[in-house]
Amino acid sequence: MRRTRGFLLPTFCKGLYPISRYKTLKVALVISLMFSIWAILGASGLPRKVPDYLAVHETDEPLVPSKPPMVRHDVLELKIRLRDLNFYSGPIDEVYDSLCVSSVKEFQRRNWLDPTGVVDRNTWKALAAGIKAPPVQARAPFREGEISLYIDTERLELTVLIDGQPWKTYPVAVGRWNSMTPVGEWKVVDKGYETGGAYGTRWMALDVPWGGYGIHGTNRPWSIGSYASLGCVRMFNEHIEEIFDIIPIGTRVKIVGFRPPLRFEGPLHPGSVGPEVVRLQEALREFGFDAGPLDGRYGPMTEAQVRDVRSLFGLSWGGGADGDLYVLIGVEN
């Protein structure tokens, strides 16, 4: 009896030792309440605001009719959706012009919203109504192992890998031609919840050293499967919610696919960052001198590999990359 005293509810319910067990239950309830508060506010981080460096790409600021008209990247997606819903037949561009405003008002009227022409969260939500995330089949049963992500911007797919083996592949939207998703090998450095705006319900930030890039949900699900974002990887909210908990901070994310045309005009030195450094690291790896992850940072590993190649090929000493090295490893313009 002593062994189970105090914590086991079934024993308490039998009416034995009612006073002491009642006190025990009270303590247990207080502890569980404290734990619940900690879990909600602390551990889950709900609602954690999207960090500023990620927020440069998407915005929850409403689109407002104005003169001159607002010009913003999300107008393009708005116009595409309105056109698909037969509310708009004008040019598809980033200008929130009067024709588009009229279409929005008409859409709002038909959907029991205030016909203000202001595109706010409710309007985006109404525009997305009826779009459901397609079910994704697992290629293999889920198991414990190292999780990594592989994103192919040509195929517009994100694959979750377990110990290097594909588990599930999800459709995504990636950057437009003028704002491409950064090709390279990154890590998830932060993650959090959102309330369903431009970042959807979940977001994960990547350690791209230039700009702010991440993987997140969206309130524009019709864009999934296209080149729509300003560089981030968009997923259906249902999909990112499905994988969110199994992806810890530090998860490796490899992005392959299209890359912008690069200009290797000036030398790159230790400390340089950017897509040119990714290309340099990639070319070094192809050449047999792996400088670690293609992380766009000209760090000590890249420097050591560049020095090795320079020394081996009899180029002048130093750890910098310049014209001769570019032609040697095949990144010349």
Binding site: F313, G314, D324, V327
Partner: protein, 432 residues
Amino acid sequence: MKAVNFLVSSGRNRGPRFGLAVLLAVNLLILICPGCARQMPQKSEGQVPVLPPGQEIVVWEMKQPHFPGSRPYEEEVQRVCEQFQQKTGIRVKLVFVSRWELPDALLKAREESKLPDVLFSGEFPCLTGLERDLAGILDAGQYQETALAAWTRGGRIMGIPSAILWFGIAARKDVLNSQQGEPGDFRTDPSTLNGLLRSLGVLPTSEAFMQIATHELSGRHRAPREIASFVSWIKMNVSESEQEFCLQRFKRGDIQGIYGVTPYIFKWLRISSEPGSSGEPVLVPLIFEKGDTGFGFTVPGYLILSGAEPKLKASAELGKLLAQNYGRWGARALGLIPARIEDLPIFTLESGFTREERSHLLKILDLTGIPLSPQDAGVEGVAADAGLDDLFTRYKCLEELAGVLSSYFSGNLIDDGLAEEIAHALEGNTSR
């Protein structure tokens, strides 16, 4: 069968027959044993001792470039290590170390008593002062004399030679064709070579050039004044003495060749140009200020740092396999001359050089005992006493020498002070 039965069966005459059988058996033994003896190696070549459980051989290798058409070097090395492991049961730990980080890594390993057992002493090899004498382990008859001499100090074999890595001039084919009527004359005619110098570029701070500058073709160390004289002669005679972007300018045709290339650059120039095009490079020997011509060379190899038997023997056996592997890979991928005599056909058949180029390169093999290498080959016994600190000194000296040469070729340093600056840069070496 009847004869056997007759010999072994029991009977009245069993005694003499048994004696006959013993005699036959002894005869057989005598016949078989010399045969066995002939099949036994002269030395314990190829035999790998058994190591105590849990021991492993640590190999420090260096990365090599991937060239189209040749297998990645890492794969080849891994294959050799795996085969050795399967065959002997000895675990091999393979680590690729950056050339640039080697001195630091070695120093750290020495402090932590975790030195590798087998160490690839790169394209520009150094002794560390910690290597073991392999004279009793290596069968000298299997190696090119020139290659073995590079690693021999007073009868001690300090490393396993893997290949002969040469330095020469890469020149555009069209320029050579326009300079002389008979193809091939340029290689023996100093005046033609002198004419060619005017249209060459040079990489004066490259290790290859610095080795050429600091050594005579005979392998002897030049004094600072002689180095200054050579460098000054290069500056005067080579038109494009700027160190920057030689490869770019060669590809564009702005320069007609590069003085002091390693096989790496030559191979790259060759595979990155259209076969048969005017920009295709041909290999030309170096020319020196006194009119001497010839290819410089150095001998990469493997050092065995394991302390005692039986690990020393096991490491040496693995080192031999790795050295042979580098020699073969180098012959195929780069056109190096393998150090093992038996692998010379690989150079002949698979290096991609013309017969003429090969025959010129193979003249290196006649220069027995005078390798152009940073191992102080001409100074008997010096390198054998070198330690890790000397490895650092060498790196530091080369770095300082590169700074002096860079200043000189860019015009910031004049002829008058050159010899002094070179002496100062090489102080660590020359004072030994």
